[in-house]
Symmetry: C2
């Protein structure tokens, strides 16, 4: 007698999302597992790396309530190869499960599901509703600037804060790795649990949320809620809980340079393609490109100790003083890629000061997107 | 004054092919370079890893004859980013070249082109003509069975031999890694330089030929010619020279089992998908799946020491004695994937003997394709 039946296609989709967090940490065997819980008309799948937890609910035909814990990777591999038929699952006495589909029978080793880490608790009624498109845009335009280095834990996160700007409730995301910073403001009604100081969400978890949004392009709204330890993101029947980073986010407002009054207006696509060319001759380690700026012209140049050198001149709109400043080409390209306008404004002060990139159409003073890049000596 | 002008798109295509062999060996700096030679109306690009050499000819507008040697990777990276315009190149006095395109100028470090390894010599008139489709098919259906282990140098090659079969000139390719063997015969007129004993071509070079054929799907014929040290493959204006392996190919005809009279007819797609499922529970190291064969049925099963077990029964046509035999699942799947017929014939003898796979429609005795797989104890 089987415990429940489930459609292969739906099962596989949910397994794909949940297995991506399972098995990242190998400190405990159970973390490579997935928790299956079935009752009433639903199967719940849960995976966690103790930082990000994902729970998916799928419609299932339940004959007898129960739960199990099996290898997430193995279950995913098996279901991926199954024909598009109904899958029958039975829990055995030794914690194992039997999975049967068509003429295939699998016995999967299990662990005691009681050992599986408990999912962070939350109150259903606390969720605020927000546009999935908005959240995805904010993640895409900031997360690239967060650090990937495990050792710089406080810079691995993305700040999400709720501020008032021009009297309007505004959601703000900020990320920085110490060499560059990306900040985006978007008008949005207040989300419960977030204040002006903000919460720091780990980059990995944020990218997981982006992946789940991408997978559910039909959903136009999602639920978000924060308590003091976790952020919760609900899309359809998918729930992601991310443990917040307990630390101080850098004082980013002090980093934003004031008095960068040398303003260059440039065509984004043209600058990006020139940077890609000139940076082929930048050294692999520092990736530096030198900007020599004069009236209505930017000359970019680079030199590689083994391979040679490159230079290219681009027309821009610039009326300021002649300036020379070096930047990391990749940081510039990544920042330019998240600015949507055809024209981009670059604001400089001198060769030793950070540069600002922003959409050229942004309202002065009330900037809703800025990228800051530290200069480098070349 | 520039030395020559060339179209970006054509240059990039040729660079892509040539740079794939350059830089594989890092023993000599010049091997990471590409040789450029320009005269009359052509630019010749040459790259080599001392085993496989590729030379491409492209139409160019030459102002002054010359040659140069520059980093293959760097030149490819630069040209890839250039706009679709004419590229102007000038050789400088210090072996460097200046490359100019649109508003970009690059100076690339060069080495003395005289140091570049010379391309193996060949006689234009010695080439035999053969169908590119035939050569690609033969490479695809045999090369997977050659060894990738550098230490087993004599098994890294693919044998190409010219035999007579039923009175007809036949081209034969054979590859084996000691655990499995794939042999394919195709009727074809005699190719100059190949005899019954055959030549051993390194797998890497053969795959390079396949790549160049793939890139030139329009070309229906290619030239092939062998001397005692090299094989030459000419497609359009692309020439590949491969240094042959100087060694003894295994006596493959002795490996082909005689008296495998337990014959199973099975549907290829069904067996492949069952194998993919059942092998999810095979151990990662040996990848073994057990076949339990009885009248009109094959049951496949596997056991993994950590994850559990799997079994599946498939209907086949079989009238022989009950048999149990173990095989490496991946070897079986790779062999089945190169058999084009819907039905496949598996020929077995007993649990300790190699199995044969072949298209079920092949003429008995005059087999034109066979795959042999060693059994394993499970």
């Amino acid at each position: 007698m089987m415990n429940f039946e489930i459609d292969k296609r739906e099962f596989l989709r949910a397994l794909g999302l949940v297995q991506s967090v399972a098995g990242r940490k190998t400190t405990l065997p159970i973390l490579s597992h997935m928790l299956l819980e079935w009752e009433e008309n639903s199967l719940y799948l849960t995976g966690t790396d103790l930082e990000t937890g994902i729970r998916e609910e799928i419609v299932a035909k339940i004959h007898q309530k129960g739960n199990a814990s099996v290898s997430a990777k193995k279950l995913y591999e098996i279901v991926r190869e199954l024909p598009e038929e109904t899958i029958h699952i039975k829990k055995k006495d030794n914690q194992w499960i039997t999975l049967q589909c068509g003429k295939s029978v699998f016995n999967l080793a299990g662990l005691d599901p009681e050992e599986f880490p408990s999912f962070p608790t939350y109150q259903e009624e606390n969720f605020s509703t927000v546009s999935t498109r908005l959240i995805r845009e904010m993640i895409e335009k900031t997360s690239f600037a967060a650090s990937n280095e495990e050792s710089r834990y406080h810079l691995n996160g993305i700040l999400l804060a709720q501020i008032k700007q021009g009297g309007k409730e505004t959601l703000r995301m900020v990320a920085t790795d110490g060499h560059r910073l990306s900040l985006l403001d978007r008008e949005n009604q207040k989300i419960r649990g977030i204040d002006e100081k903000g919460m720091i969400i780990p980059k990995k978890g944020v990218l997981e949320v982006k992946k789940i949004i991408g997978d559910r392009d039909g959903e136009e709204e999602m639920g978000i809620y924060f308590n003091t330890t976790h952020g919760f993101f609900k899309m359809g029947k998918s729930l992601t809980a991310i443990r917040l980073i307990d630390g101080e986010f850098p004082e980013y407002e002090q980093v934003i340079p004031k008095g960068n009054d040398q303003k260059i207006v440039m065509l984004k696509e043209r600058i990006v393609s020139s940077l890609k060319r000139v940076s082929t001759m930048a050294s692999e380690r520092v990736e530096g490109v030198k900007f020599s700026i004069k009236k209505n012209s930017v000359e970019m140049s680079s030199t590689h100790q083994d391979f040679g050198d490159a230079q290219e001149e681009v027309e821009v709109v610039y009326e300021g003083i002649p300036l020379q400043v070096g930047f990391n080409a990749r940081y510039l390209i990544e920042a330019l890629n998240v600015i949507d306008t055809e024209e981009v404004l670059m604001e400089l002060k001198d060769e030793g000061s950070p540069g600002i990139l922003r959409p050229s159409s942004s309202t002065p003073g009330l900037s809703n997107q800025i990228c800051i890049i530290m200069p480098m000596r070349l």
